[in-house]
């Protein structure tokens, strides 16, 4: 792999840009791998990357039915924060956030991490109390957050209206090292690094069956033939239930559509992320100048990657009350992704009833922020059989009543 650098840009500028190489190799499946990862989204790719980087396991294939990063990783609103409530969440989300700080250097790929600050508006008395509680919890967890007053909110976000009749701004939970990153670049950066370690990323190849012998996984069936493996990692977000079914177990997960939209580009008006959970809306401004807006989730099971118009209307209607200047903007694009929801709104990183088969799913509406931390912990779980980061996120926690309840911190889509 040729490294990217300022020097490389200068060299290529002088030589007609003929020396750039493909970011990752095209690969055809081999007969056997030590580890097969199903799903080349951010979580699958990060898992493979840390398997190689931390544990020296590089005989790895990542199998993707579409194109890499084409699932939720390429469809989200890229908010990164770690101000959750429960300790296991704080550990994995803060690990992820801190890895994001140096990810561009680690991968030699600009993921455009922008710790511009994440503001979660408190627009009801209940939210004020909830966020004060979160601030105290975060202080104990070593996650730096602060409750700010309406005056401070207005100073950071001048376009906001504080005294809306229905949704007054009563304060906000502020994490100054939260922010955004370029979603595609995160997938591409990990993919390039995996490929450079000799791993095979096999696109347009769907896993159609899981092979097992005496309760142990032995490989997968795919549209490009059978592939044997010692260990299997299922990291397919919205299709977790479908692939788990092939492996012979059930998951406490339901899939719904979550949607987002972007406006026409305008000059910079807002340099942080604002989330308004009461009205199910959140917004940031991309480097191109588009206002990136995320909305609520559908109320019914859905695999169609398509949103409902009335949710967009609800989100936009409410956001306009808090940001009146938005009313003049045209909306340009609108899309949906299928998110995998658990009952306690926390993910599953777990062994499964099938030996040698592991699952990483349930990130639902908020897993982009977690990609590096999830890959870090899940790789450890797959390599060593346990990881302090994933311990509490077992698929059996529901049965055991050990929920990691984040319905307040993650109840809205982000």
């Amino acid at each position: 792999m040729k490294r990217y650098s300022a020097f490389a840009v200068a060299r290529e500028a002088l030589t007609g840009h003929k020396g750039w190489e493909r970011a990752w190799r095209k690969a055809q499946p081999k007969k056997r791998y030590d580890v097969v990862i199903v799903g080349a989204g951010g979580h699958g790719l990060a898992t493979a990357y840390y398997l190689g980087k931390r544990f020296g396991i590089t005989n790895v294939a990542i199998i993707e039915k579409g194109w890499l990063g084409g699932g939720n990783t390429g469809r989200n609103t890229t908010i990164i924060r770690s101000n959750y409530l429960q300790d296991p969440s704080a550990a994995i989300y803060e690990k992820a956030r801190s890895l994001y700080e140096t990810l561009s250097q680690d991968l030699n790929y600009n993921v455009m991490f922008s710790p511009r600050g994440v503001m979660m508006l408190a627009q009801t008395e209940h939210e004020v109390r909830g966020y004060l509680r979160t601030v105290h919890a975060n202080a104990l967890q070593g996650v730096k957050t602060r409750f700010i007053t309406p005056a401070e909110v207005k100073k950071i976000v001048p376009i906001i209206r504080l005294d809306g009749p229905r949704y007054p701004v009563l304060g906000a939970l502020w994490q100054d090292r939260g922010g955004t990153a370029r979603h595609d670049a995160v997938a591409w950066g990990y993919a390039r690094a995996c490929s450079a370690m000799g791993m095979d990323i096999i696109q347009k190849c769907e896993v159609t069956g899981v092979r097992q012998e005496a309760g142990r996984v032995t490989g997968v069936q795919t549209t490009k033939g059978d592939i044997a493996c010692d260990k299997l990692g299922i990291v397919v977000a919205g299709h977790s239930g479908v692939v788990a079914n092939m492996a012979g177990f059930r998951l406490p997960i339901e899939c719904v559509a979550l949607q987002a939209l972007v406006s026409e580009p305008i000059k910079p008006v807002m340099d942080c992320v604002v989330m308004a959970n009461t009205v199910h809306g959140y917004m940031s401004q991309s480097d191109k100048g588009e206002m990136v807006i995320g909305g609520g989730a559908d109320q019914f099971n859905n695999y169609s990657q398509r949103g409902s118009f009335h949710h967009v209307e609800e989100t936009v209607r409410a956001l306009i009350e808090t940001f009146p200047m938005l009313s003049r903007l045209k909306m340009l694009r609108w899309w949906g992704g299928i998110v995998d929801m658990t009952g306690d709104r926390s993910p599953i990183l777990s062994k499964t009833p099938l030996e040698g088969c592991f699952i990483n799913c349930g990130w639902g509406t908020g897993g982009f922020k977690a990609i590096p931390g999830s890959g870090w912990g899940f790789a450890e779980l797959m390599a060593k059989g346990h990881s302090p980061l994933t311990e509490e996120f077992s698929m059996w926690r529901f049965r055991e009543g050990k929920f990691i309840d984040e319905s307040v911190a993650a109840g809205v889509a982000h």
Binding site: G241, Q299, S304
Partner: protein, 112 residues
């Protein structure tokens, strides 16, 4: 936008008039049942990519609960039927089999 015909009042109600009630035909388990049954009832919802049976409520209409059979991929609605039953009507099941040969859902004679 999803529209379902309410079997009680006959209105073709659109999504905003309706409230989703999740998986249909759940069998409830209480104290004394074993861990498997209790976990299944509480947490392991059907989440099929394809034919699905659900409960819905015509909240901003007649207010009644009913059932619907729907495809979660194409959003095609196969039919709606009364809430006062523990199984979909046979003619609806036949219609689904015609359109989706080989479709599968949880065994309706088994607990959830």
């Amino acid at each position: 936008m999803l529209t379902l015909q309410c079997p009680h009042c006959g209105v073709h109600a659109e999504e905003t008039e309706l409230t989703g009630g999740g998986e249909a035909h759940l069998k409830r388990f209480g104290p004394g049942s074993d861990d498997d049954a209790f976990e299944g009832y509480l947490f392991l919802r059907e989440n099929p990519k394809g034919v699905h049976f659900e409960r819905w409520r015509h909240s901003y209409g007649c207010g009644k609960w009913f059932h619907a059979a729907r495809c979660t991929v194409t959003m095609e609605v196969f039919g709606t039927y009364t809430a006062q039953t523990s199984k979909p009507p046979q003619d609806l099941l036949d219609r689904i089999s015609e359109k989706r040969p080989g479709w599968r859902w949880r065994d309706l004679n088994e607990p959830a």
